[in-house]
């Protein structure tokens, strides 16, 4: 049986690792923009995807590093203790010790049911995670129902191109073995638009965007209140669309203007004509309510068209790409290792413990 304390520590470590990944990505992305690679969308997408995968693999990598010769990585607390012992941090030893052990004390208090406020916070987190889990489960049910109700137009290997009268925007998803590209029925009447929509969705499958999307959705309940998760998700979704647009145009030879017009056509059909098409003038609130939940606060189509107009320029070379990936992975792994709870007793830690114990004895003897 896993102890609640171990589970809470695991969850805290995972959330901290994601925060470090978001910071590392933001830092490298900032450097790329500064160096003139801001419009290298594929390279930026590879970096954000790498950040997610490195976070997912970090426990395994660190375990192997520690087991096979890498030894113990000095933690953030070890560095702080060293600075304290050198006299660079002037704070009362007992207070300093309390600050260093704040996390383990908080976890222990929640596990033992001693701090009502912290327990309330833990329940809030569990509630948010459950709500997100229900949302993801409902989406899964909706996707399955849409795919089941759609008609297969064509099979290309493991990919099924389907048509549905229940959607207004083309989308792709995957099952355990098969990939599905689902098109709105209206698109059947416009062959050039259908070609662009299928090509775009096939590019998502090629880029492995669906796996990343599903991984993010499955993990989202664990990180629901972590801003770093939403920051990386937003980056991932935005960059994958930009990269997909340019890669599709490069492969198919489709002109930017035709592609941009196709996007506008789909948007027009989905978001302007669709509510009118249903002609439910007296039931607009019902339509509106169901759409409100899936609407984002700001329009992304204009940004996307502006990106298309500006073009993808300044692609970094292979060596630079590799270098950026290594630096990003190194930053995440080092940061994650440094924030983990120290288990061993170093010389500095024994010194620190002695100083704190002497201070405690002193305060007891001289109240």
């Amino acid at each position: 049986m896993i102890r609640p304390e171990a589970l809470m520590n695991l969850l805290i470590d995972a959330n901290l690792a994601l925060m470090i990944a978001a910071l590392a990505f933001a830092l490298i992305e900032g450097c790329m923009r500064f160096a003139g690679y801001g419009r290298a969308y594929s390279a930026r997408l590879r970096l954000v995807m790498a950040a997610v995968y490195v976070v997912a693999l970090s426990p395994l990598v660190l375990f192997f590093f520690r087991t096979y010769g890498g030894g113990e990585i000095p933690g953030f607390s070890d560095l702080m203790i060293a600075q304290f012992l050198k006299g660079n941090i002037s704070i009362h030893p007992i207070l300093f010790d309390d600050l260093l052990s704040a996390r383990s004390s908080a976890v222990a208090m929640v596990a033992e049911g001693r701090a009502p406020l912290l327990i309330l916070l833990a329940f809030l987190l569990i509630g948010a995670a459950l709500a997100r889990l229900i949302y993801v489960a409902m989406n899964l049910f909706q996707v399955m129902s849409l795919v089941r109700g759609a008609i297969t137009l064509r099979r290309i290997g493991r990919i099924q191109v389907m048509v549905s009268d229940r959607v207004h925007v083309p989308f792709s998803t995957r099952g355990l073995r098969r990939f599905y590209v689902v098109l709105p029925q209206d698109i059947l009447m416009d062959a050039p638009l259908m070609k662009v929509a299928i090509g775009h969705e096939l590019q998502h499958i090629r880029q492995r965007d669906l796996e990343c999307e599903i991984l993010a959705a499955v993990l989202s309940p664990l990180f629901v209140l972590n801003p770093a998760f939403w920051y990386l998700s937003q980056k991932l979704r935005g960059l994958r669309e930009f990269a997909c647009d340019f890669e599709y145009m490069r492969r198919s030879g489709c002109a930017r203007v035709d592609y941009a017009r196709s996007l506008v056509k789909v948007a027009e059909a989905a978001f302007l004509q669709a509510p009118q098409r249903t002609m439910f003038a007296f039931s607009v609130p019902f339509v509106g309510r169901s759409r409100l939940f899936s609407r984002t606060a700001r329009s992304g189509l204009k940004t996307r068209v502006n990106v298309l107009v500006a073009g993808e320029v300044g692609k970094p070379g292979q060596m630079l790409n590799m270098g950026l990936l290594v630096v990003l992975a190194g930053m995440i792994l080092t940061g994650t290792a440094m924030l983990q709870k120290s288990t061993g007793w170093s010389h500095d830690r024994i010194m620190m413990s002695t100083v704190v114990n002497l201070e405690r004895l002193n305060s007891r003897n001289n109240p």
């Binding site: 008609i151 098409r277 107009v309």
Partner: protein, 130 residues
């Protein structure tokens, strides 16, 4: 194929049903020819939509001389009554936003927004067309 029978018709389906109601009955080729020719339509696309209509219970088909003949299985006036009665079905429309990659995300678009976007396209890359 798991399809709900007698769902409301989409714009395209309604256009097909109008043609079928006018024709009385017809093959895919006849329906294809009778449809308004605003945009060119592929024969296979017309066949798919007719298949959808049959799946929804709005049309029925019968094989005559190796050709499928489609006829309406739902009257025009019956559909109008049904349309008014089932408006609340609209609540369950829309596509999921998680677990999928979509061509475009949902957004609060107005006709003005789209005009602005169209203007950007035409002014900046409008002359790119080969």
């Amino acid at each position: 194929m798991a399809r709900r029978k007698n769902e409301l018709l989409t714009e395209v389906e309604l256009e097909f049903m109008q043609t079928l109601w006018d024709l009385g009955e017809g093959t895919v080729r006849e329906v294809h020819a009778a449809l308004p020719q605003v945009t060119p339509r592929a024969y296979t696309s017309v066949a798919t939509v007719l298949k959808v209509l049959e799946g929804k219970g709005y049309a029925s088909s019968e094989k005559k001389d190796r050709t499928l003949k489609y006829r309406p299985a739902f009257g025009r006036s019956a559909y109008e009554v049904k349309f008014l009665r089932e408006t609340s079905d609209a609540m369950f429309g829309g596509a999921p936003s998680a677990l999928v990659a979509r061509l475009i995300e949902d957004e609060n678009l107005s006709e003005e927004n789209l005009d602005e976007i169209r203007k950007i396209i035409e002014e900046r890359i409008g002359r790119d067309t080969p």
